[in-house]
């Protein structure tokens, strides 16, 4: 029996190598250790399933044909598959929850075609944002939107996680709006090119936010925009969340020129990032990026609006520096503690104050080091990110913070809102509060992946048991308060 298993393992290993090339198929235990999971720096045991499920192979296809052949082979052998790219989501989205083969798409990193007239780019899905931005820039073009993690993330991850907040979404829409088509490699190895309104069982809207449960994407075609000629930065401090939110909404809905980037942060967030910070407790920051006459109007509108709301203008050098380190400030929180904990929420713009009112008392007396910032998203929504700076060595605090974040997630769903990022660790929220989406995705998944082999335990299936989560957080918060 054992001999047979070894033989079969070797057989499909060799077949994988024949498809891809021996140097891009590995069973090396150290590489599997490093590639089994995302870049999250939470302690390993926190993701219990990570120790339970280790990949057997890491495979790096170079193109759609190889990707498809690998998928087909995995189906033939009934091997579980996890498709991964840069792994920057930090929600364990790259974890091979059933073991098996990890297909790493980062070798598929080529720009295939840039059409400057149609303003489109076709590229392989594993391309890094940095590489794509640089390639477009050389042609006087730019992506319409990209994530603030652009310095380390890849295109494909942003597509399958919905890409609704980051840089450019308010002005140009989400990644879904920018998409023309994707090439989907389905769990059986078949390949489909899915366009907007192309019909078919799975739509482009299903792909964005699918977390790969319908297969992996190998190519992406995006609409892009031109490099603009003027950039203006504005920033105002406010005494209250109400004033700040109002100003934030005014900028977001301004029809003259929507911000290219917009955020609202509390003083703690700025303080954890920067040495010298704005003085008031709330800070709204916007970047306008367009032609000079348009940004000039946006600037005037911002000033007028801020004046009405009693906003205090922030020094220009600070605004410039904040733009330059727009990708780094979240990281900076990670530089200040061993285990930064966070949860992202997806909240309607008009409910920002309500969310804050619920959140503020929970951190009123600074029971733990905390911070909040809000990033403008598409479709009248914003991504709110709550941070707790802790260390797993202080387990009561660590789980106490998580319990707080959990309460805010419950509040969000009960108020018709939700969470922004969902990976393996927090899929249970979907099951608890978003049954409609779960059922829809389940139906599609039954059709394309009836064995549930590919990217399992995302959306339609939860790894965490709800009663355990609830019990854990109740106990944690009680103990934390008591402590």
């Amino acid at each position: 029996m054992s001999q047979k298993k070894i033989t079969e393992f070797e057989k499909y290993t060799n077949e994988l190598k024949e498809i891809v090339s021996p140097s891009h198929v590995t069973t090396d235990p150290y590489e599997i250790e490093a590639a089994t999971g995302d870049l999250s720096i939470l302690p390993k045991y926190h993701y219990k399933f990570k120790e339970e499920h280790i990949a057997t192979h890491i495979v790096r296809p170079n193109n759609t044909d190889q990707f498809s052949a690998v998928m087909k082979l995995c189906k033939d052998y009934m091997l579980p598959v996890t498709v991964r790219a840069a792994g920057t989501s930090c929600y364990s989205a790259s974890t091979p929850t059933k073991g098996g083969v990890v297909i790493d798409v980062r070798r598929m990193n080529k720009v295939l075609e840039i059409d400057s007239e149609k303003m489109t780019v076709k590229c392989q899905a594993g391309i890094s944002w940095l590489k794509l931005i640089q390639a477009l820039r050389a042609k006087g073009l730019a992506p319409k939107c990209y994530p603030t993690s652009y310095k380390s993330s890849c295109l494909s991850g942003f597509v399958v996680t919905s890409g609704a907040a980051g840089i450019g979404q308010i002005k140009f829409g989400s990644i879904y709006d920018a998409l023309n088509a994707v090439t989907l490699v389905k769990p059986d190895g078949s390949v489909s090119r899915i366009q907007k309104n192309s019909g078919g069982e799975i739509t482009l809207a299903d792909i964005t936010g699918s977390f790969g449960i319908f297969g992996g994407i190998s190519e992406v075609e995006l609409n892009v925009t031109t490099l603009k000629t003027s950039m203006e930065l504005v920033g105002y401090g406010f005494h209250t969340m109400e004033q700040a939110s109002e100003f934030y909404r005014l900028l977001k809905s301004n029809s003259i020129d929507k911000p290219f980037y917009l955020s609202l942060s509390d003083k703690k967030f700025e303080g954890f990032s920067h040495v010298t910070i704005p003085s008031r407790p709330f800070f709204v920051y916007a970047v306008f990026y367009d032609d000079p006459e348009v940004t000039a109007k946006a600037l005037a509108f911002s000033k007028e609006s801020a004046d009405k709301l009693g906003g205090l203008e922030i020094d220009k050098w600070y605004l410039e520096e904040k733009w330059r380190d727009v990708a780094d400030v979240e990281l900076n929180l990670g530089r200040l503690c061993n285990n930064p904990i966070f949860q992202e929420y997806w909240i309607s713009d008009e409910k920002l104050e309500a969310f804050y009112e619920e959140y503020a008392p929970k951190v009123k007396d600074d029971k733990y080091r905390n911070a909040m910032y809000i990033m403008g998203g598409s479709n009248g929504k914003s991504r709110i990110k709550l941070f707790g700076l802790s260390d797993i060595e202080k387990s009561l605090e660590f789980f106490g913070i998580k319990a707080n974040l959990h309460k805010m997630a419950q509040w969000s769903y009960k108020n018709g809102e939700g969470i922004y990022s969902c990976g393996v660790v927090n899929t249970f929220y979907y099951h608890l509060f978003n049954q409609e989406k779960v059922q829809h995705m389940q139906k599609l998944n039954n059709s394309v992946d009836p064995d549930d082999r590919v990217n399992s335990y995302r959306i339609i299936k939860t790894k965490m048991r709800l009663w355990r989560i609830k019990l854990l957080f109740i106990v944690a918060q009680t103990l934390f308060r008591w402590a």
Partner: protein
């Protein structure tokens, strides 16, 4: 006035004309809060926040795409080993340990400022002590132990490169060196009586046994400039290859030998054409002596422009003219640049050569890409090294394409005419790749350019 005014501080080098696309973490962001630090630098990997910035700049990762091949991935393995979550297997861990060029580009973009070269070099020491030494590396170690060079060459042949009319200037300098040591040994001359203007040229194993053209070129240039120099007759391997690969015990013995050899001759300044030797003296030797070596260290790209300025000299490239200069681009060797902070002097030197013009590649100075030869990658993983070098060559060609678009340089031809470096390993690795992929792009050491120059006095113009 309300509480607003934060300070009169100004940020440096702000570029806000577009999306923040270029560059990774910028260390000059002085208003960012400093990260946590650790006292024990060998455990600095514990501070890694797994941001992934180092992945983009890692040339090895961009060829292999292996998660263990860039700094963050390797740090992850180190963390797991540290917590004993995974076993240390001397056989299978070798790729994790050695498939790194130790080029240090990851350290330049690290938001927490981890000294990755220090961490990974220490990892190699631990790995070697744990029995994880590749067979190829064992042969190198054995060769250095037996012959004091990594090429299995008899030590007595170390200076054959200049004998038998191969390089008269080198031979004369070697004879001067032999004479100096004889006088010191006999007591005819005391170390403190040695002229402070005398410099000693440390050849290095590669130039001595493989790339004689560089040792010869160096001696000819120094001679043409009128420098007072000797060749150190009994030098041994500096230990660079062993320090880089974690065989510190053997390297330390060589280090002690070379330091003693130079000190006892009263030499005040040692110059190097080999960036690897220069880096080893500047880092490991300096660290060992607590920065009290007792003699000055200069790479030829530092010494030559300094000497030329002091003596009113300049160089005229014989093969081209001021009006029709040879268009070169300069590749910063990791050993010279990121390891020793020598960025401007080579460029100063190039600017002193009439008939040569310099244009920069996209990635230069602190962000220069490695040639692919560093850290033992060339020796242990030849294919990957060639692939990395090829991408660097592509970049050279692209840089000239970019220059073409510049209105001010419309006259510049479409291709780089020469890729120039100041490191024998970069030259060899890039030449090797060029011979396969870009045969029309010559790769030279800066000394080979200088060798083809007339040395002129400025007042002779």
């Amino acid at each position: 006035m309300e509480e607003n005014k934060m300070s009169d501080k100004k940020s440096k080098d702000l570029i806000t004309t577009g999306p923040p696309s270029g560059g990774l973490f910028s260390p000059q962001q002085e208003n960012l809060i400093k990260p946590l630090t650790t006292e024990d630098m060998t455990q600095d990997y514990l501070r890694c926040i797994q941001c992934g910035y180092c992945r983009d700049v890692c040339r090895v990762f961009n060829v292999t795409f292996r998660e263990t091949d860039y700094a963050g991935g390797r740090n992850r393995i180190l963390k797991s080993l540290n917590k004993k979550e995974i076993p240390f297997d001397p056989e299978t861990i070798q790729d994790v340990v050695y498939r790194c060029m130790l080029c240090g580009n990851c350290a330049e973009v690290c938001p927490v400022g981890i000294d990755t070269v220090h961490v990974f070099r220490n990892f190699r020491v631990r790995a070697v002590n744990g029995g994880a030494m590749p067979e190829k590396l064992k042969k190198v170690r054995d060769s250095v132990v037996e012959f004091a060079n990594p090429f299995m060459e008899e030590g007595t042949k170390r200076h054959d490169w200049c004998k038998g009319n191969a390089c008269d200037e080198g031979y004369v300098a070697w004879e001067r060196g032999v004479g100096l040591y004889r006088k010191i040994k006999s007591g005819e001359l005391k170390p403190d009586e040695v002229s402070p203007n005398l410099v000693a040229y440390f050849i290095g194993c590669t130039s001595a046994f493989r790339n004689n053209e560089l040792s010869s070129a160096t001696c000819r240039v120094l001679d043409a400039m009128g420098a007072d120099f000797i060749v150190i007759p009994e030098e041994k391997c500096c230990g660079s290859v062993l320090f880089r690969t974690g065989v510190d015990d053997v390297a330390t013995e060589l280090m002690k030998y070379n330091i003693d050899l130079i000190r006892k001759a009263g030499i005040k300044e040692v110059i190097f054409s080999c960036a690897g030797c220069f880096s080893t003296f500047s880092n490991e030797y300096q660290e060992y002596t607590h920065h009290n070596l007792g003699f000055k260290l200069s790479h030829v790209t530092q010494f030559i422009p300094r000497f030329a300025k002091e003596h009113g000299l300049y160089f005229k490239y014989k093969l081209r003219s001021k009006e029709d200069p040879l268009k070169i681009t300069y590749h910063d060797p990791c050993h010279l640049a990121r390891y020793c902070d020598v960025y401007e002097e080579p460029r100063d030197l190039i600017s002193m050569i009439e008939g040569i013009s310099l244009s920069e590649m996209q990635y230069n100075k602190k962000m220069s890409h490695c040639c692919g030869a560093g850290g033992g990658v060339r020796a242990l993983y030849g294919d990957e090294a060639t692939s990395i070098a090829d991408s660097r060559l592509d970049e050279t060609v692209e840089c000239w394409d970019e220059i073409n678009e510049d209105r001010l340089l419309e006259a510049v031809e479409t291709k780089a005419e020469s890729l120039v470096s100041a490191c024998v390993f970069c030259k060899n690795n890039l030449s090797n790749a060029a011979s396969q992929f870009k045969p029309d792009l010559p790769v030279q050491d800066i000394l080979q350019i200088l060798e083809n120059c007339d040395v002129k006095r400025k007042d002779e113009k």
